[in-house]
């Protein structure tokens, strides 16, 4: 199978999936257009990303949106440590372009929640300088796309100064903001930077999916003495997730470099991150319903360091691997996952590993074209079915 996901391939894949083993939702729309197969399923599937446990919810569990979880993490860390401050465009008076910093200015004052001029290289450089001088800044980028103006400060100064100074200048800094495609924001606002920053020694890179991920990883990022790139997802901010009692406490942190098995399985390992985790869980349920197969879904949480042990352990059990992410295919997170699996678990694979990625084109603006440019549940399902020869 072609492992790279190009629009034409995707079209063929979803059409093939639709014609051979038609999902219930797709059957209705198939007669209209192959495009809408994916779209309709995507909508219904998207809603089911926010799982709640109506009957068997453990006591004390509360629903949090990802936005609220991030906000709580920031508030707790600002409260806990005087050295922490947050800066970025519109983070203070306006409460953040996505309201992640809501209420923080009122609570912590303008010395610790700072609106900056529109100059990414300026405020990122300022934050790196403050970090090199002992403070623990949290830099909000309105989106990671704008951080390209400041990438020299992140990579050449943030990531390397500890090493190049001979270990005398730690840089405890957190860079955060929405990453990846959103919806109708065109090529210049839709990039996924996981692979970019994941390739830099000196940086740690994490990407949360659920509210617990968001809170636990952000708190860990702020406390971590190293520079951390924290990749959020705009489409997830409003999604609700149950948050355990433990995660609601102010000492809740999630260690970096540890993936989470979101769903146990024995037939196929799906390794994924960020928003794609929810899509994979939906695809896994559909695969179970249709074919009776059990897919194991691994939420990476951390891109660098990457939890290769968890992947290898799972592949030894399932003997098949599919990576799912929404970055560009070339030299991407999926490429890294497949390469590592090849290095450490080649003999355990019963089939060539596959990867589902975004399309290798600048992201188109037109809604239908944009839909075609990124993985969705039916595509993931179709690729998994193909890999399993179902």
């Amino acid at each position: 199978m072609s492992s790279l996901l190009r629009p034409a391939v995707r079209l063929a894949a979803s059409a093939a999936a639709a014609s051979s083993r038609v999902p219930a939702a797709a059957r209705i729309s198939k007669s209209v257009s192959p495009f809408s197969v994916s779209k309709q399923s995507a909508v219904s599937a998207f809603a089911s990303q926010s799982r709640t446990y109506a009957s068997d919810a453990p006591s004390g569990t509360k629903d949090y949106t990802v936005r609220d979880a991030l906000n709580e993490a920031l508030a707790e860390e600002l409260e806990a440590n005087d050295k922490v401050f947050i800066l970025g465009e519109e983070v203070a008076q306006y409460n953040g372009a996505y309201k992640v910093t809501k209420g923080l200015l009122d609570r912590f004052g303008e010395r610790r929640v700072i609106d900056t001029p529109v100059t990414e290289s300026g405020f990122t450089g300022l934050a790196v300088g403050a970090a090199l001088s002992g403070l623990h800044p949290v830099v909000e980028f309105m989106t990671w796309n704008f951080a390209m103006q400041a990438i020299d400060q992140i990579v050449n100064s943030g990531a390397k100064t500890l090493y190049m100074s001979g270990g005398i200048q730690p840089c405890n800094i957190t860079f955060r903001g929405p990453n990846g495609f959103a919806s109708g924001v065109g090529a210049q606002h839709s990039q996924d930077y996981s692979a970019w920053y994941g390739s830099v020694p000196g940086l740690k890179v994490v990407a949360p999916w659920s509210a617990e991920d968001a809170k636990g990883l952000l708190k860990a990022a702020i406390r971590d003495p190293n520079p951390v790139v924290f990749l959020e997802n705009e489409l997830m901010y409003g999604q609700s997730f149950p948050m355990s009692e433990a995660a609601q406490k102010d000492d809740f942190v999630i260690p970096f470099g540890k993936a989470k098995i979101e769903r146990q399985g024995k037939d196929l390992t799906m390794v994924t991150l960020s928003r794609c985790v929810g899509q994979c869980l939906v695809a896994a349920e559909n695969l179970k319903k249709k074919y009776g197969v059990e897919v194991e879904v691994i939420n990476l949480r951390s891109v660098k360091p990457i939890d290769i042990e968890a992947i290898v352990k799972s592949v030894k059990k399932t003997r098949r691997l599919l990576s799912v992410e929404s970055g560009f295919p070339a030299f991407g997170v999926g490429a890294e996952i497949l390469a590592l699996t090849m290095e450490y678990a080649f003999d355990y694979l019963d089939a060539p590993a596959g990867r589902v990625t975004g399309a290798d084109v600048p992201t188109p603006y037109a809604a239908k074209l944009e839909d075609m440019a990124f993985p969705n549940e039916p595509v993931i399902e179709a690729y998994a079915a193909k890999l399993l020869r179902l």
């Binding site: 005087d82 401050f85 465009e89 008076q93 306006y94 372009a97 996505y98 309201k99 303008e110 010395r111 900056t116 001029p117 529109v118 100059t119 290289s121 300026g122 405020f123 450089g125 300022l126 934050a127 790196v128 300088g129 403050a130 970090a131 090199l132 001088s133 002992g134 403070l135 309105m142 704008f146 020299d152 400060q153 050449n156 100064s157 100064t161 500890l162 090493y163 190049m164 100074s165 001979g166 270990g167 005398i168 200048q169 730690p170 959103a182 919806s183 109708g184 924001v185 065109g186 210049q188 606002h189 020694p201 000196g202 740690k204 971590d224 003495p225 190293n226 705009e234 470099g257 360091p305």
Partner: protein, 461 residues
Amino acid sequence: MKNRLASVTRSCGQRQLRHGQRLLAVNSCPLPQRRHVASFEQGPSQRPDSQYVSFPGAVKSAFCHTMKFESPQNYPALPTYRVVDQHGVVVDPDFQPDISDEEVMQLYRHMLTVSIMDIIMYDAQRQGRLSFYIVSAGEEAVAVGSASCLSKDDVIFSQYREQGVFAQRGFKLSDFMNQLFANKHDPGKGRNMPVHYGSKELHIHTISSPLATQIPQASGAAYALKMQHMQDPSIPPRVVACYFGDGAASEGDFHAALNIAATKSCPVIFICRNNGFAISTSTLEQYRGDGIASRGLGYGIETIRVDGNDIWAVREATKKARELALKDGGQPVLIEAMTYRVSHHSTSDDSFAYRAKVEVEDWKRRDNPIIRLRKWMENKGIWDDNKEKEARESTRREVLKEFSKAEKEKKPPIRTMFEDVYEEMTPDNKAQMAQLREHLERYPEEYDVGDYVGGRDSLKP
């Protein structure tokens, strides 16, 4: 910003809402006024018969009815402040040296040390004994003079031509040599190119190669100092001094840094060494405006242009700048020090490809910061040919002594290659280290690791 938002509004209800909310805020929700920020109350409304603009973007502008474009030619170039002329004669009648003769001679010795070290190390590079070197000939007064007026707790961000700052703050010849030869005493553990010095004790951030990145960082460090002083008033107020050249001032980071330092009221002194060249690009090609100083005014920053070959002018300006930088809780100050880069840019450059040798010789003969201070000292009767000869010879001996000592030292342990990538060694770092050790143990004949402290053993977990 506007463009960016225009392109993203379709997608996202929040961002559309955002504009609505901002309008609401303007109309109905006055917010507290902050320094340098026009309050929302001022708004775009206009009082009747006002003589002044009340647009929030330029609140002090008067209305006029003559349509006229401002032309830079109509403004005289900013003056260059000097205290002592090129003959060592004091031209500022109010000038009184504020330091003892002994201290003046110490400044002179630091300038001399740096210039002698530069000549020796330049030649050493040519002999292949180190990979790279940068000299600061002609610019010693800017570095030594400005550094001599800072407190020892002030924080420095330098570029790569400020050996004088290091020397003045107490970086010893052995410290220079250990870094240049990347030996086991190099605090940078041999990870940086030559001349990328740094010192925690002297509060000098490690030099970073990419041009101008240190300028916004200096604003941030100044912000941190300000915060620290506010949180704990027992810490004395401090400033950051940030050095860069005329070429770096063309980078976006320079502009970003000045703007953010001004808007955030950061106590930072920006010191531009305008030496006429950015590698091969002369200032005639670099900019059309009135040097770097005119830009400071544009960002609302107190600015002065000084004669960088006059250590007294540099000192007077830096003293005043430090005072200004700490005024009212903090503000940035810009000093443009005019000099001439007598040397080639670095050992990788031959400047006679783009400038006449005679021009350089002229400068050397006509004006040089070291000779200028020497003449001043001679006029004052505290220096003479004998002292000069003695100082030069002893400095040269000292440099050569530290040179050969540092060159012979062992290299840092191989282990340091894998350390400090992160605060703690990651499993990946450890795995790489184990792999290297295994490799070296398997092929002991192929690698001579005797030069490195601990040899292969440093790779043990």
